[in-house]
Subunit: 349 residues, 2 copies
């Protein structure tokens, strides 16, 4: 049954077609559609007003045509002609679902548009709004869980261990570094500009940092920062960086493979040559996806929310204002234009 | 103080010089030296008569010049002009060490020669001689511990899981496959000849097997054998094989990286391109070395000796007779000439 609600304008970011190579703004299009703000009677859907949209590197994978079947919502290819999807923070405008009511703040998978109709909603309710709501796209959302589970669970860290983080000023990396410092580790990060390297050293409290674009020899850069080698590598990059890291890992080192952003836009990923180090050094390399840890969200929040409130962990966001800027914000992830977690602010609460 | 023992002839396999590329017989030389069969008074050394020498792929790594420091005896480069070292089965001829006495059978690190003087011996005593002594270079020695720890500890196997083993008829692979069958797994192996493939299917009870040299497309071969994908990969090979396996791993698959024999003779190892699968599929890849599990040797023996005695596990050895044949036996590992575990029989007990 159709709802009785009148239709209102709804700006959307439409995914035009599948992408090869680096995504461009012109692969997306901002169009105005219309939407009813009432759910159909008897439906269990919700209608939400999107406040913040999250720009995340994994979204590039969804821009590639694929015939591989997947159960992972993070990997299902986008539908050409439809809006992009991604994590967002939103406010419930109408609900047919018993778990959500009008006025609730939520975060979870929404569409890139001003208002979204979400069937079978699986959204986290936001119970703590004393922190910036945008944080639920970052430190208190998917990247936060990734950093928390990846560091504490996958890396099995110990005080005093040497931790290296690539893409270290990004949504996940800045958190891993700060978690590692809180644990008493020696922490070095790399990033792609002087501004980001300064952030790592001065704002996030890393022990050292370098601009990978200015290093001719990544192996030498790592040997300079880690004369005794690396115990834990938080992998966000892949390719040449991973190859250099493998040469510098210590015995029984651990690599949490969270992403490989340097590879997403390549038709054929780069070859990694130094995997024999995994055998000789008994390295454990393990992939992780935030989804697997969503059932532990409350436990995560109990651990990380105090860090935020007590300012033990800071979080830098790069907020683009207005949905019209969403395509540029997303594309900018792959040239490293963003400084910190890239968010798009769509509307005020 | 010099011992009073008279000197006798001692044939040795001398490592002539560091090797690049595939090792050749001419990289070694069989020479006759002389040795006293008595240990010096006050010394804690032992003199052993070598019965069986073990040819193992990791020995290639010790043939390469390296300035990397290592604590792993398995990786310390050989000394040009001195005999090779490796695992062996031997009988104690004289002992200054309280743990060993004349007549004891032992296995452990010996030199490639008829008699070895071993300072600071760290040798396992053989208490069960009802099984072939050569087995202590294989199923009851280092390869056995590797297979046991790699499969049961690193791979965390479950009944019904799909297991793939490369170099599957080798010293380690044939055991992993049989352990996996005993656990109720579906097991496929690859090897490099029809004879070996027949062994896998008919002697070791693998569910399926293929000759990788006859497959133009390893990915297609794996898809044929594992239409639902691979849960556990026991990695002995590396390079292109690993790349094809990564495409076929299932969600939360495990890779025990035990060796990468295809890479040992290359100046620059092959690039592996499909590591992004580790992230998306949450794969855990972990290196292992038998040494780490030597403290659990008694536990291992309690588990595996009954398998041998009750013939629940069979073990195929390729025994070269006489120390003169040792260089050819070792070199043959890298062309796949051996069928089963390669051993050199030096002397009868």
């Amino acid at each position: 049954m159709a709802s009785g609600g009148e239709l209102i304008n709804n700006k959307q970011v439409i995914f035009k077609n599948f992408v090869e190579g680096f995504p461009k703004e012109s692969d997306m299009e901002v169009k105005t559609s219309s939407i009813s703000l009432k759910v159909e009677e008897g439906s269990n859907a919700v209608v939400v007003k999107n406040l913040y949209l999250s720009c995340d590197p994994y979204m590039r994978i969804r821009m590639t045509q694929s015939d591989q079947e997947t159960d992972d919502p993070e990997f299902i290819p986008f539908t050409p002609g439809s809006p992009l999807e991604g994590f967002g923070v939103a406010k419930v405008v109408d609900s047919g679902h018993p778990n959500y009511k009008k006025g609730d703040l939520i975060w979870g998978m929404v569409k890139w548009e001003e208002y979204s109709l979400i069937e079978n909603p699986q959204l986290f309710k936001i119970h703590h709004a004393d922190v910036p709501l945008s944080h639920y796209t970052g430190i208190l959302g998917m990247p936060g869980i990734t950093a928390w589970a990846g560091f504490y669970e996958v890396c099995s860290p110990k005080k005093g261990e040497k931790v290296y983080i690539s893409a270290a000023s990004g949504a996940v990396g800045q958190l891993v570094g700060q978690f590692a410092k809180l644990m008493g580790c020696y922490v070095v990060g790399s990033a792609g500009s002087k501004e980001k390297v300064d952030l790592l050293k001065n704002k996030f409290g890393f022990d050292d940092a370098f601009n990978y674009k200015e290093e001719h020899d990544l192996d030498a850069a790592l040997k300079r920062c880690f004369p005794e080698g690396i115990d834990i590598y938080f992998e966000n990059v892949g390719g040449k960086m991973l190859d250099a890291v493998l040469l510098n890992m210590r015995l029984r080192g651990r690599i949490a493979a969270c992403g490989m952003i340097s590879q997403y836009n390549l038709h054929q990923p780069e070859g990694v040559h130094n995997l024999m180090n995994i055998v000789g050094k008994r390295i454990r390399m393990e992939g992780l996806m935030a989804f697997d840890y969503f059932p532990q969200y409350e436990k995560f929040l109990d651990a990380v929310l105090p860090f935020v409130r007590e300012k033990k962990v800071v979080y830098v966001e790069d907020i683009a204002e207005g949905i019209e800027g969403a395509p540029a914000a997303l594309v900018g992830l792959f040239s490293g234009r963003n400084v910190g977690k890239q968010v798009v602010a769509v509307a005020k609460e």
